[in-house]
C-alpha cells in the first residue's frame, strides 16, 4: 500500500465523515431551524427582501417555484451578457483585457449559468477581474439554484399531502449564505495559506532562475477557486484550471479542493434522509452512489497506475503509471481518482488531461457523466437520481404485485411521462449531438485531433460533458468554432433545465396526491434490495443507451491497444 493510495482513502474518508454532520446541518437549514449563522445573515436578508418586495415565508406551488427559478436565470443571463461584453472600459481591469465578443459572451454566460463552466477563453487574457467576480457570483447562485430545486423535492416528501412547497427565494438565499458561503470561506483560508494569490493588482513580475523577468497573472484567485469546487462548477480562474500552480499549489490544496467538491453532493443525500425523517433511505441512496462511484474510480486508479502497455513495449519505464498529461506533484493515482470524482460530480475541473487517460479510464469518465447521478452536482445529483428512483419504483412496484408507489404516493401515467422524457433527454442530447458532429465532418469531426476511435471519443466526450453540465473536456478537441459553440450551448441549456424541471414537477405532482400508509405489502424503498434495483435501472439505462457509442470509441481503442 503506497502513500498515493492512502491519500485517496484519506480524501474519501474525510469527505464521508464530514458529509454526515453537514447533511444534518443542511436538513436543518431547509427545515427553517435556527443555525449559528442566523445572527449575521438575518438582518441582511431582511433588508434585501424588503428592497425586492419578496415575502420569503410565502409558500409556493411547484409551478411557482419553476417560474421563479427560470425568471431569475433569465435576469442573470441578461446581466451577464452586459458585463462580459463591456469589461474593457468597466473598472477592475488592471491588465487591460478586452471585452468578449457577442458569441463568446453568449457561450461563457450559458456555460456558467448552467453550472457547467465550459470555458472557451483563457482567464489570464480573456476576462477582467470584474468579469471574474461576476462569474464567481454566478458560481455561487447557480449552485444555490440547484440546491433550492433539490430542497423543493425534499419538501414534497416531508409532508403527507401538500401543494405548499416552501418559498423558492428562501431556499435559494439560504443555500448560498448558510451552506455555500461558510464552506467556501474555510477552503479559501487554506488556499491563501498555501500560496494562492488574493489581490486586485495586475500582473506580478518575478525574476526566474535564469534571470529573466516573467509576467505572472494573479488576481482574486483564492476567492474564486473555493466556490468553483464547493458549487461543483469547475471553471478555472486560469486557463490550466486545477493543474495551474496558483490554483492548486500543493498536495494539501489538492486534497482540500477534492473534498470541497465532493462534500455537498454527498451531504445532500444524507440531508434528504434527515429532512424527510427517513435516514435509512438516505443511507440506501448513499450506498448506491458509493458503489457506483467506486466501480468507476477503482479501475481508473489501477489503470492509470499500471500505465500504458504500448509505451512499455517501446522500452520506456512506466513504473510511475500513465504519466502523459499528468502533474508529477499529484501523481497517477490521485489523478485517476480525481478524474472520476470530477465526472461523477458535475464539477468538471481537472488536474490531469482526460484526453490522455487510458482508453477504459476515458470510458469510465464518460460513463460517470452518462449516469450523472453517482453523487452528481450540488442539488442536481439528487434530482438526477430521483428520476432513476421513480423508474425503479415503477418496475419493482409491479414486481411485488401493487401499483407502484413511492413514499406513499402512487406513480401514474403523468409522472411516468415526465420521468421518461427526462431519462430520454440525456441519451438524446449526447448521441444526437455526437451523431450530428459525425455526420457533418466539415464542421463537426474536423475538430478532432486524433482520427479513429479516439477522435470519436473526443466528440462523444464533448457532448456528454455538455449534457451532464460537467464542463471537463477531452482537450484534444478544437472546439472553439461556431458549430461547436452553438451545438454544445443548446445541449448545455437543455441538459441543465430539463433535469431541474422534470423532478420538481414530479415531486410537486406526487406531493399533491393522497398519502397511502405503508403496509406489509408495500415495497420498502429503504432496503438494500431496492438499492440493487436502482443500481440495475441505472446500469441498464446507461449501458443500453450508450453501449454502441462506447463500443466504437473507448472499447474499440482498448481492444486495438493490445
Amino acid at each position: 500500500m503506497n502513500t498515493e493510495i492512502l491519500g485517496i482513502i484519506a480524501m474519501f474518508g474525510i469527505t464521508f465523515l464530514l458529509a454526515i454532520p453537514l447533511g444534518k446541518y443542511i436538513a436543518k437549514v431547509y427545515g427553517g431551524e435556527k443555525t449559528f449563522l442566523d445572527p449575521i445573515f438575518i438582518p441582511l436578508e431582511k433588508l434585501f427582501y424588503k428592497i425586492s418586495g419578496i415575502n420569503p415565508s410565502k409558500e409556493m406551488t411547484w409551478k411557482q417555484h419553476l417560474v421563479a427559478l427560470l425568471s431569475i436565470n433569465l435576469l442573470w443571463f441578461l446581466m451577464s451578457m452586459a458585463i462580459l461584453m463591456n469589461m474593457s472600459w468597466l473598472p477592475l481591469n488592471p491588465d487591460g483585457n478586452p471585452s468578449q465578443s457577442a458569441d463568446l459572451a453568449f457561450n461563457t454566460t450559458i456555460s456558467f449559468l448552467v453550472n457547467c463552466n465550459l470555458q472557451h477563453y483563457s482567464g489570464e487574457t480573456g476576462i477582467s477581474y470584474l468579469g471574474q467576480m461576476w462569474l464567481m457570483f454566478l458560481q455561487f447562485v447557480t449552485a444555490g439554484i440547484g440546491m433550492a430545486a433539490a430542497a423543493v423535492v425534499f419538501k414534497a416528501f416531508r409532508e403527507k399531502t401538500t401543494t405548499q412547497l416552501g418559498n423558492f427565494y428562501n431556499y435559494f438565499v439560504k443555500s448560498c449564505t448558510r451552506i455555500l458561503l461558510p464552506i467556501s470561506l474555510i477552503v479559501a483560508a487554506v488556499l491563501v495559506f498555501e500560496g494562492t494569490p488574493m489581490t486586485f493588482n495586475g500582473k506580478d513580475t518575478i525574476t526566474n532562475l535564469q534571470g529573466d523577468t516573467v509576467q505572472v497573472s494573479t488576481g482574486p484567485v483564492a476567492a474564486f477557486v473555493p466556490i468553483k469546487h464547493v458549487g461543483t462548477n469547475g471553471g478555472g480562474f486560469f486557463g490550466a484550471n486545477g493543474a495551474h500552480p496558483l490554483e492548486n499549489p500543493t498536495y494539501l490544496t489538492n486534497m482540500v479542493e477534492m473534498i470541497a467538491q465532493f462534500i455537498i453532493p454527498m451531504a445532500m443525500v444524507f440531508a434528504f434522509g434527515f429532512f424527510i425523517r427517513k435516514r435509512k433511505f438516505g443511507w440506501m441512496i448513499f450506498g448506491v452512489m458509493t458503489i457506483g462511484f467506486w466501480l468507476l474510480a477503482a479501475p481508473n486508479i489501477v489503470m492509470e497506475m499500471n500505465g500504458n502497455p504500448a509505451i512499455a513495449n517501446m522500452g520506456i519505464d512506466i513504473s510511475q503509471g500513465a504519466t502523459e498529461g499528468k502533474e508529477v506533484r499529484i501523481g497517477a493515482a490521485a489523478s485517476g481518482f480525481w478524474s472520476i470524482v470530477t465526472t461523477v460530480i458535475s464539477t468538471g475541473s481537472i488536474n490531469s488531461m482526460h484526453d490522455s487517460s487510458m482508453p477504459l479510464s476515458g470510458m469510465n469518465e464518460l460513463i460517470a457523466m452518462m449516469v450523472n447521478a453517482f453523487y452528481g452536482g450540488v442539488g442536481a445529483g439528487i434530482l438526477n437520481i430521483f428520476i432513476f428512483i421513480i423508474l425503479a419504483v415503477f418496475i419493482s412496484g409491479l414486481m411485488v404485485g401493487r401499483t407502484p408507489e413511492f413514499m406513499g404516493k402512487k406513480i401514474e401515467a403523468r409522472e411516468m411521462k415526465i420521468a421518461m422524457i427526462i431519462a430520454l433527454a440525456h441519451p438524446f442530447l449526447i448521441l444526437g449531438g455526437t451523431a450530428i458532429a459525425a455526420a457533418f465532418p466539415s464542421v463537426g469531426s474536423v475538430a478532432i485531433s486524433n482520427p479513429g476511435h479516439h477522435g470519436f471519443s473526443q466528440m462523444l466526450y464533448e457532448y456528454t460533458s455538455s449534457a451532464a453540465n460537467n464542463g471537463s473536456g477531452f482537450e484534444g478537441l478544437g472546439d472553439n468554432t461556431l458549430f461547436w459553440n452553438i451545438s454544445t450551448g443548446i445541449v448545455l441549456l437543455l441538459g441543465r433545465f430539463l433535469p431541474i424541471i422534470g423532478p420538481v414537477a414530479i415531486a410537486g405532482l406526487l406531493a399533491e396526491k393522497k398519502f397511502i400508509p405503508e403496509s406489509a405489502g408495500t415495497l420498502k424503498t429503504d432496503t438494500s434490495t431496492f438499492g440493487i434495483m436502482i443500481f440495475a435501472v441505472i446500469a441498464i439505462i446507461a449501458a443500453l443507451s450508450f453501449f454502441p457509442a462506447l463500443a466504437l470509441g473507448p472499447i474499440a481503442e482498448y481492444f486495438s491497444l493490445k
Partner: protein, 671 residues
C-alpha cells in the same frame, strides 16, 4: 402440449380462432394501439421492401435469402404478439360464451300468457317461471318464492331459495326453478347484462387501457424511443468509423433492443387477468377493478358465511338449579315453533323432537321485536319466553322473581366463549339457557394469515355484541371487527380507512349494502343479491361465495406482477442481444471488437439471425406464463422483489446468452 394444464390453455378450437385473429390484428389501425409492436410492424414492412430490393439486384445489403429470412422472422414476431392477445381474448370469450349459452333462446312466459324468446325480453318486462322452467334472463323476483338450481352458473348443486323482497331476490338467466312459482321483472336491456359487458371488455372493442397499463406503455414507449435514438445515431457513427451497416442489421438491432417481449404480451396479460377472474366465477366490470384488487389494504368481510359456517347453531341446553332438563328442552322447543330463524330451527334440531308431534291448544305466538328482544309462545296459562339474557332478566325481575346466579354465570361464560346465550323462561321464572355457537370455517385462519403476509388488514363485520365478536375475531385471526354493525357502520368504516389513504374491498348483497359497495374501491356484489347491490359494486360473484374476495386480491396481484416481471425480463434480455449484435455489426471493419464476441457466435449473419429468432420465439414461449400469471407468494414485498429480481432479472440476463448461443449453433449448420 403434454400435460393437462397446457391443454386447457390452448384448446384446438381456440387456437384456430386465435390464428385467424393474429392476421386480422396486423391491421395498422389495430397495431397502432401498441407503440412497441407498431414500430416492429414498420420495421417488418421496411424489410419486405429491402428483400424485394435485393431480389431485383441491390448490392451491399446482403443476399436476398438473408434479408428475406429477417423479414420472415420479424413477421413471425408480429404474429406471435398478436397471437398472444388473440388467444387471451379467445379464452375469455369462450368462458363467457359458455356462461351465456345457458341463457340463449329460452322461452319466456310473460304475465299476459304470451310466450316469447328470451332474446326479445326488454328491461321492465315481467315474466313468470314455475317449477321446471329455466329462467330466461337476469331479473328480480317481485312476487313469490322458489327454490332454484344455480349449478349451471355456480357449479354448486345444492338448491338455493330466492324470494321477493329482501336481499335474495335476484335470479340469474340459465338457472332452473325447482319448486313453486315466481314473478320476475327483467332488470337489464338485452346485450347489457354484466356478462355482456364483460365479453365486450375482453373482445377489445370497448377495452380501455387501465391506468397502470397506460403508465407501463409510456415506460415501454420511452424505451422504444431510446432505441430509436440509439439506432438512428449509429448510422453516422458507423459512417465515421467507415463501417457500412446493412438495413437488415439496423432493423434487427432495433427490434431486438426494444421491449418486444413485454410489448407483445402486455394486452394478453391484462385480458388474462379478467379471464382468471371469470374462471373464478367473478364478473369484472372493468379491467381497472382487477388491477385495484391487487392494491387492496383493507378487506371487510361479513362474519356469517365468510368466517363462520352459515348461522349460529344451538349446541347446549343448561337447566337452572332445580329445573328438569327435559322441561327446559320442551319449553325451548315450544318457544321456537314459530321461530323461522335458523337459530330457532337449530334448537328444535338439537332437541331432537319432531315439532308436528307437539299438540297444544290455541297457541299464541309472540314475535320477536326490537323492544322486547325476546319471542315465545302462550297457551292456556303458560307463558314461555326465549331471548337475550338482559331482556329475560327484566321480565323475571319485574315479576319479583330472582334471576338465578348460576344462570348469570353461565350467560357470561357462553358470551366470553364467543357463543350467544338465549335464556328461556316460563311464567317469568328462569328455566335455563340455550347456548348458540358460531362454527368457524375450517382453514379460514390460514387464509387470514396469508392475507396478513400480503399486508392486507381483515375486518369482520357482525351484528353480534362486542364480546362475542371479539372472541370470534380472535379465534378466526382477523385484525379488527365491527360489532353490532348497522349498514352505515360499514360505510363509515370504509370512509375512515379511505381518508387515511387505504384501499378497501368489501362484499355485499343487500340493497342497504349498495352505498358501501359503491364507496369501496373494490365492491364485490353477490349474484344472488339485489340489483342495486350489483349495480353499485364493480364485480359480481356468480358463486355468492364470500371468501371470493381473497381470490380476487390474488388475481389482481398476479396481474401486476406478471407485467412487472416480464418487463424486467424483456429489458434484461437486451444485454445478451447487444453482445450478439454489436460485434457482428463492426467486426468486419474493426477486427479489434471481436473481443466483444464473448458468445463466440459463428458469423455476423448467424449472430444477427440468432438474436432476432430468439427475440421472436421468446414471445410464444412466455404466453403460458402471461396467461396463467406469475405465482404470488405472500413472503413480504422485499423478499418478493428479491425473488422476482433474481428469477426474471438475472434470469433475463442469462437465458438469452444460452438461447442465442444454441440458436446460433443450429443456424450455423445451414450457413
Amino acid at each position: 402440449m403434454s400435460n393437462n394444464k397446457n391443454t386447457s390453455l390452448f384448446q384446438p378450437e381456440l387456437l384456430n380462432e386465435a390464428f385467424k385473429q393474429s392476421f386480422v390484428k396486423l391491421n395498422p389501425k389495430i397495431m397502432f394501439r401498441n407503440p412497441v409492436m407498431f414500430t416492429v410492424w414498420i420495421g417488418t414492412l421496411v424489410m419486405l421492401f429491402v428483400s424485394l430490393w435485393t431480389l431485383f439486384g441491390a448490392t451491399g445489403q446482403g443476399s436476398f435469402a438473408y434479408n428475406f429470412i429477417v423479414f420472415v422472422i420479424l413477421f413471425l414476431t408480429l404474429l406471435f404478439a398478436n397471437f398472444a392477445e388473440a388467444i387471451a381474448e379467445a379464452r375469455g370469450k369462450a368462458q363467457a360464451d359458455s356462461l351465456r349459452k345457458t341463457r340463449e333462446e329460452t322461452p319466456a312466459k310473460l304475465e299476459n300468457g304470451k310466450t316469447i324468446s328470451s332474446a326479445q325480453l326488454k328491461k321492465g318486462d315481467v315474466f313468470i317461471c314455475v317449477a321446471g322452467d329455466v329462467i330466461p334472463t337476469d331479473g328480480e323476483i317481485i312476487e313469490g318464492l322458489a327454490t332454484i338450481d344455480e349449478s349451471a352458473i355456480t357449479g354448486e348443486s345444492a338448491p338455493v331459495i330466492r324470494e321477493a323482497g329482501g336481499d335474495k331476490s335476484s335470479v340469474t338467466g340459465g338457472t332452473k326453478v325447482l319448486s313453486d312459482k315466481i314473478k320476475v321483472v327483467v332488470t337489464t336491456q338485452p346485450g347489457e347484462s354484466f356478462l355482456d359487458k364483460m365479453i365486450a371488455l375482453v373482445e377489445g372493442a370497448s377495452r380501455q387501457k387501465t391506468p397502470n397499463e397506460i403508465a407501463l406503455t409510456i415506460l415501454l414507449a420511452g424505451f422504444t424511443l431510446v432505441f430509436i435514438i440509439v439506432t438512428v445515431t449509429l448510422k453516422p457513427f458507423a459512417d465515421y468509423a467507415n463501417t457500412p451497416i446493412t438495413i437488415a442489421a439496423f432493423i434487427s438491432l432495433f427490434v431486438c433492443l426494444i421491449p418486444t417481449t413485454i410489448g407483445g404480451l402486455l394486452s394478453a396479460i391484462g385480458i388474462a387477468g379478467m379471464d382468471r377472474a371469470l374462471r373464478a366465477n367473478v364478473i369484472t366490470k372493468s379491467g381497472k377493478a382487477v388491477e385495484t384488487a391487487g392494491d387492496i389494504d383493507v378487506l371487510l368481510l361479513d362474519k356469517t358465511g365468510t368466517i363462520t359456517i352459515g348461522n349460529r347453531k344451538a349446541t347446549n341446553f343448561y337447566a337452572a338449579n332445580g329445573v328438569d332438563q327435559e322441561q327446559l328442552v320442551k319449553a325451548a322447543v315450544l318457544s321456537s315453533l314459530a321461530d323461522e330463524t335458523p337459530e330457532g330451527k337449530s334448537i328444535i334440531e338439537l332437541a331432537g323432537i319432531n315439532p308436528s308431534t307437539i299438540k297444544i291448544e290455541n297457541p299464541r305466538y309472540i314475535k320477536f321485536t326490537a323492544e322486547t328482544r325476546s319471542s315465545g309462545i302462550e297457551y292456556g296459562s303458560t307463558r314461555i319466553r326465549k331471548g337475550a339474557s338482559d331482556a329475560i332478566k327484566n321480565l323475571v325481575e319485574k315479576a319479583d322473581n330472582i334471576f338465578p346466579s348460576e344462570i348469570a354465570e353461565r350467560v357470561k361464560t357462553i358470551s366470553s366463549n364467543g357463543g350467544t346465550p338465549l335464556v328461556v323462561s316460563e311464567n317469568e321464572k328462569v328455566l335455563g339457557v340455550v347456548e348458540l355457537q358460531d362454527i368457524i370455517k375450517p382453514g379460514i385462519q390460514e387464509r387470514f394469515e396469508r392475507l396478513r403476509k400480503m399486508g392486507i388488514k381483515t375486518v369482520m363485520v357482525t351484528g353480534d355484541n362486542p364480546l362475542t365478536a371479539k372472541f370470534i375475531a380472535e379465534k378466526a385471526g382477523v385484525d379488527d371487527f365491527i360489532a353490532e354493525a348497522k349498514p352505515e357502520d360499514k360505510m363509515n368504516y370504509i370512509r375512515k380507512e379511505q381518508s387515511e389513504g387505504r384501499l378497501v374491498a368489501m362484499m355485499g348483497d343487500g340493497t342497504n349494502d349498495a352505498p358501501a359497495l359503491a364507496q369501496a374501491d373494490v365492491g364485490v356484489a353477490m349474484n344472488s343479491g339485489t340489483q342495486a347491490a350489483k349495480e353499485a359494486g364493480n364485480m359480481v360473484d356468480l358463486d355468492n361465495d364470500p371468501t371470493k374476495l381473497i381470490e380476487v386480491v390474488e388475481i389482481g396481484k398476479q396481474l401486476l406482477m406478471t407485467r412487472g416481471t416480464l418487463t424486467t425480463f424483456s429489458i434484461a434480455n437486451d444485454v445478451a442481444k447487444y453482445f450478439a449484435i454489436i460485434p457482428a455489426l463492426f467486426i468486419a471493419s474493426i477486427p479489434a471488437l471481436k473481443g466483444l464476441n464473448i458468445m463466440n457466435l459463428h458469423s455476423p449473419e448467424s449472430a444477427i439471425l440468432s438474436a432476432v429468432i430468439f427475440n421472436a420465439i421468446i414471445i410464444p414461449l412466455l404466453i403460458p406464463l402471461a396467461l396463467k400469471g406469475v405465482a404470488y407468494k405472500p413472503i413480504g414485498a422485499s423478499a418478493l422483489l428479491r425473488r422476482n429480481l433474481f428469477i426474471y432479472g438475472l434470469g433475463g440476463v442469462i437465458v438469452p446468452f444460452v438461447g442465442i448461443k444454441l440458436i446460433d449453433m443450429a443456424v450455423s449448420l445451414f450457413m
